[in-house]
């Protein structure tokens, strides 16, 4: 296996290697010459715009989108204005920055999504250069105009344009510049001749990197590392300065002896890098310059494009793609010639074992004597993760598995996880998928995002396989994929509504977490309202159907679904929505067909909008309720006139409702009110608002017998009641003579036992006795008992 190291090149005390990723499956006529190329990190897609500068209207440049392995995803002629820069967002959307400052956003499949402008002033001054950068806030864009002004947008999804201050003495575009993200601030570092400036929101400061003297020449190229931590500056005299991007510290200073400006310059490092380097590319040469001052040179045959990754640099040419990276320490330990690291020994032991050689035992013993077997297994497993070649992966994993047999107390977790992850990685690295992710990148990207990317590229079966294989809970895994699939499916224009609905229902079934209403919403967005309704029918929770139905203006259906759901809040939401959307008449008509919603709305109106309530009853010709409404209103009215007029309205409505009883009662009430008012005015009796009974009581207690009598006659108070009333009132006032006179006025309709009892109640036995004789024979005993 010595040949593994054949592709290794030493750089300082570390090694660099180039790994073949793909034979590119594209066929480019003119290679990568004269094209704008943008390739996204993390094995992202590649966008290619041919000859963007050619401006003849007859031949439009072609915009092509490829997967990282060169598989064609989309291709279409560019019809908009001249493009300055292409770039990819973190969510794999293509940004095309035009000369006039307009940014057009396309999805992976080349369909236009939206556009925005980098500011009004750009339209006149034109964009000279633009850069797309990624930060924790999302994807940002920076431009510099021909009037030498910079404009920044840190997150294109939450667009806030910032125009940076002027750079003193800058004419045209700067010789080179980069965007830095430091301390939650986005800045621009630029050079103008020998001077270096930092440009932030408010100021433009001249800076001087430590250890870079002005004699070294003008800065012609600069590059910032993937993590924004390191900076490399190249001068026209071929000096390469590297240091921290804070410009606080210098790492190294190398004289490359190349005076020609490179086409591209990128950092190449990895997490826990031993020997970070800067990669410079000219037409025929690729130079790797380590901070240790050593260099590696690779010749180049074709024009290439470099893509910076977190753990290396991808080199894309028209024919193939390679990954240049520092060899991870653990791989060095295992594969370095004559390495005695435990992992290397274990690999050797396993090789001997397969050859059925007893040397296997010797190697094993050697590891075990140092009690390094656990470490050996770990090394093999880790190294397998870093290897791209499946055979190497296999032999390392087998060695690890072999070593594991001799360990009693070793957790298999790491081994199992790495096996699984490698399997997934190998699957997505396949040229037909084209996601050349390293294990380190995969860890950084997370599995969730990987699945998202697969879904986004419409590799649904693979995504589902991955979810199932890695046993991701349905809710986050399979269901999510299915949801995306269904949302995509509903956009297929060549299928009928029925066919799509059936297909969706068959695949999705009742997977947990897949909401049919979401799918239906998507269908509606694509203008397929009928399909949306069909899909909504699959939705089990009627509450979920409502918002979309409202959006689709199927308000009746929405209301009945809301009622069906039994959620009154939802019903109310629909009602208040309808109230604003419809005209009053239609609104009331709709409510009328939904009693539940109607009573809910009535309850609300009773407390909030009395007037609406009236309209509601009016609309329904509900005279009874309308009359009741007036009666209620009359209680709130303080003035007698207002009260009477409200009651009159009530009477009219009762009449319409053919409720004669209520008519009469209300009229009586009005009569009583007038009567009370009159007496209040004349005698100050304070009667207004009292009931008939209480009025009579008060009159009697005031000694206004004549008026009481009048009420008794006018309102046809039953004799019994009047007699009870008068009896009680006279007794309470102890007007015994008057009482006696009253008893004799005619035959008592309530009998005379009542007289006896009332007198006793008022503690007047003497008076009580007067009436005993008049009591009917049946009640005599009771009367005598009462008197005692």
């Amino acid at each position: 296996m010595a040949f593994i190291t054949a592709s290794w090149n030493p750089l300082g005390d570390a090694f660099y290697r180039k790994t073949d990723l793909y034979e590119m499956s594209w066929s480019l006529r003119d290679g990568l010459r004269d094209s704008l190329v943008a390739a996204a990190p993390y094995g992202g897609p590649i966008a290619l715009l041919r000859e963007p500068q050619r401006r003849s209207p007859s031949s439009r440049p072609q915009l092509e989108i490829y997967s990282a392995s060169g598989g064609t995803i989309a291709s279409f002629p560019w019809k908009s204005g001249p493009v300055v820069q292409l770039g990819w967002t973190v969510s794999d959307e293509l940004l095309c920055i035009q000369e006039d400052g307009t940014v057009l956003i396309y999805d992976l499949f080349g369909s236009f999504k939206r556009h925005f402008s980098m500011g009004q002033e750009v339209v006149q001054s034109q964009v000279m250069e633009a850069k797309v950068f990624h930060s924790p806030y999302g994807t940002g864009i920076a431009i510099v105009t021909s009037s030498s002004r910079f404009t920044l947008a840190t997150n294109i999804d939450d667009l806030k344009l910032r125009r940076l201050p002027e750079v003193p003495g800058l004419q045209g575009k700067p010789s080179c510049w980069v965007v830095l993200t430091q301390d939650r601030q986005t800045k621009v570092l630029l050079s103008n001749g020998p001077e270096l400036f930092i440009l932030d929101n408010t100021s433009c400061t001249v800076v001087c990197p430590p250890g870079l003297s002005p004699q070294d020449g003008n800065i012609v190229h600069m590059s910032v590392s993937f993590s924004y931590k390191y900076l490399a500056l190249l001068t026209d005299s071929g000096h390469l300065w590297t240091g921290l991007s804070t410009l606080q510290e210098k790492l190294s200073d190398v004289d490359t002896k190349k005076t020609m400006a490179p086409k591209q310059m990128l950092w190449c490092r990895r997490p826990k890098s031993q020997q970070p380097s800067v990669v410079l590319m000219w037409d025929r040469l690729l130079l790797v310059v380590g901070v240790c001052n050593e260099t590696i040179q690779y010749p180049i045959e074709d024009p290439c494009v470099l893509v910076g990754e977190m753990d290396g640099v991808r080199i894309i040419s028209s024919s193939n793609q390679e990954l240049l990276q520092e060899v991870p320490l653990v791989c060095q330990d295992i594969f370095k010639i004559a390495s005695m690291a435990p992992g290397a020994l274990l690999l050797e032991a396993h090789r001997e074992y397969e050859k059925s050689s007893q040397k296997a035992d010797e190697y094993l013993r050697e590891i075990k004597e140092q009690s390094m077997l656990g470490e050996a297994v770990r090394q093999c497993v880790e190294a397998a993760g870093h290897e791209y070649d499946t055979n190497t992966q296999k032999s390392l994993m087998r060695a690890a598995s072999f070593g594991k047999c001799f360990l009693t107390d070793f957790s298999p977790d790491q081994f199992v996880t790495t096996c699984r992850e490698l399997r997934v990685l190998n699957a997505v690295r396949d040229s037909s998928v084209g996601l050349p992710l390293t294990h380190t990148q995969f860890k950084q990207l997370t599995l969730q995002v990987l699945i998202d990317r697969l879904v986004y590229r419409q590799f649904y079966p693979l995504a589902i396989e991955v979810c199932r294989y890695l046993k991701i809970p349905d809710y986050q895994g399979v269901s999510r994929v299915l949801k995306h699939w269904a949302s995509c499916k509903v956009q297929q224009k060549d299928l009928t509504d029925d066919a799509i609905a059936r297909a969706v229902c068959m695949k999705v079934g009742d997977s947990p977490g897949v909401s049919y209403s979401d799918i239906a919403a998507k269908a509606y967005e694509c203008g397929r309202a009928e399909l949306a309704i069909k899909l909504l029918d699959f939705e089990a929770r009627s509450g979920e159907q409502v918002p979309l139905l409202l959006k689709m203006k199927r308000s009746q259906l929405a209301l009945s679904k809301a009622v069906e759901s039994g959620d009154t809040d939802l019903v109310y939401t629909v009602v208040s929505y309808l109230k604003n959307e419809m005209n009053r008449g239609d609104f009331f008509m709709t409510l009328r067909n939904q009693p539940v919603a109607l009573s809910l709305y009535r309850q609300f109106c009773k407390l909030q909008e009395q007037e609406t309530l009236k309209d509601l009853y009016n609309q329904d010709d509900d005279h009874q309720e309308l009359a009741n409404y007036y009666v209620t209103a009359s209680y709130r009215e303080k003035r007698l006139e207002g009260r009477l007029s409200l009651l009159q309205s009530a009477v009219d409505e009762y009449n319409k409702a053919k409720n004669e009883f209520a008519v009469k009662t209300t009229e009586d009430e009005m009569r009583l009110l007038r009567f009370q008012r009159k007496l209040d005015d004349e005698k100050g009796a304070g009667l207004l608002g009292l009931s008939l009974q209480v009025t009579m009581e008060t009159l009697l207690s005031l000694g206004l017998h004549k008026q009481a009598e009048q009420l008794y006659k006018d309102f046809r108070v039953p004799d019994k009641r009047y007699w009870w009333l008068k009896l009680k009132s006279l007794a309470e006032k102890e007007e015994w003579d008057e009482l006696e006179k009253f008893s004799k006025s005619k035959k008592s309709p309530i009998g005379y036992l009542a007289f006896v009892e009332v007198c006793i109640k008022c503690n007047n036995k003497y008076e009580a006795k007067k009436y005993v004789s008049k009591v009917t024979p049946e009640q005599k005993v009771k009367a005598h008992l009462a008197v005692g």
């Binding site: 039994g566 009154t568 009535r602 309850q603 008939l692």
Partner: protein, 616 residues
Amino acid sequence: MAHSARRDSPELPDFSILKRLARDQLIYLLEQLPGKKDLFIEADLMSPLDRIANVSTLKQHEVDKLYKVEHKPVISTSDQLCFLIRPRIQTVKWICDVVNTDKVPGKSRRYKIIFTPQKFYACEAVLEEQGIFGDVSIDEWPFYLLPLDDDIISMELPEFFQDNFLAGDQRWVRTAGSALHLLYSLYGPFSKVYGIGRCSKMAYESWREQVEEGEQKARQAEIGNVFLIDRDVDFVTPLCSQVVYEGLVDDIFRIKCGCVEFGPDVTASDKSVKVMLNSHDKVFSEIRNEHFSNVFGFLSQKARNLQTAYDKRRGMDIKQMKTFVSEELKGLKQEHRLLSLHIGASESIMKKKTKQDFQELLKTEHLLLEGFEIRECISYIEEHINRQVSMIESLRLLCLLSITENGLLPKDYRSLKAQYLQSYGVDHLLTFSNLRQLGLLVEQQPGETLTVMESKVGKLVNDKTAGKLTDAFSSLAKKSNFRALSRKLNLVPKTDEEYDLRVPRDMAYIFSGAYIPLSCKLIEQVLERDGWTGLEEVTRLLNGHEFAVTGSSGVDSRGKNDTQRIILVMFLGGCTYSEISALRFLGREKGYKFIVVTTAITNSSRLLEALLDNHV
């Protein structure tokens, strides 16, 4: 009677968890508003809150002052106001006024509204309309259930009844479903769910939805079957005068949230005393379910026992005395105090209720239930109205008459209504409209059955008798649902035997042997038949909406273990203490234990007051 329980009756689940849960949730919400704050509490939430967290608990969590939510300017100077309210539009409007008043002088405070048990969209809409949605933070305190006793849990939502049955506003149905879900998640799974009534069915469905949304955990069930019942299935029972001790105390003194305030006439001093009425009160727990006529006997026996216990002191040596004082005396003293209170209460009840007119009132009620001498009853009610005995009582009798007779004759309806309006004020016109809407007090529609029956009878007897019989028939022959139900379910026991109230033989004892409460009888029948089979006629008369569902978990396969005999009965729209007493009796007879969950404890007065419409 509490001592004559069947020895194998199962243990009740521990409901104090509900209180702890509610308290922890409230504390969590209060801590969401750090720093000192004044707490404004909805008036009718005060008592329930007191059962959950007392003032010192609130103070521990930086509640400074406590106020009642009222429609008047706040005097609080705190810069953080927290409102604990029911989701009522009226209250929310008051709070809007408070906030808007503060805005005028530019005063800035933090406001937090905690809705319990949940918020409603309408409330938020009001906040939005009044332009203060952004000024207040909103939370929900899911305090659905308050255990009032070992076997009574109340949602303390009296407005459930009006809103749902009168206004047709179903907003609380989901709340009831959530309450059931809470019980399910703590004490479930249930093996079978029965129910009757539209609202019950909806509450059941709402609960099922919540079960399906949530995750299921396999756990030991502590509740067997569940029975849901709407209040409008049986209006007769709550309209009858209560004569069981606990019910009587509620009718007369009004038990509020499991606690009653005895006035000076009971305590025989010039102070009022608040007493918690539950099974921890040893005296009360023995007499609560007794017919009132037995209570005095029990109490005097108790007094004698107490005296004997005190008398043990005599002839003790020092050591014995010491143990007596440390162990027994305190208990005896406590019992003594309670005993004297209950004796006082009983005396006060006696004064009010043993008078002639109460006996006559009961007699009228019994006649109405039996359907005899309706004319006499009507004139009794008439007199009742004319003499203005009591506005609510008169209304209660009218309703009872109407339900048992399936509506009043148009002639009677008009005259009684006119008299009532003259007596108690014309504003009750709207009350009558409410009662009619609910079917509590209606006018008979000229029915065909009547004429058919009349002509038949007319042929059989001579004209004179037929004329006399018309009145009687008008009440009998009509599709009087109550009458038919009463016959089917045998609700009115035969009157010819003497009913010994000391040894009750059925649930009728709670109404002096005159009537078995319909609601409880239904529960008994359904549990006995394990469903509604054989009750088809009954459910038809009750307007259907019955259901019986076996739970999804296969608990019932394990057969009749103890849990199976714990029955949760949920009354939607309130239940009375008499019904609870009847269920306790049924439980003792059949070896069940009933847990009563209700939207609120009700009685005839509360029921009718909710329907009065003169206070708007």
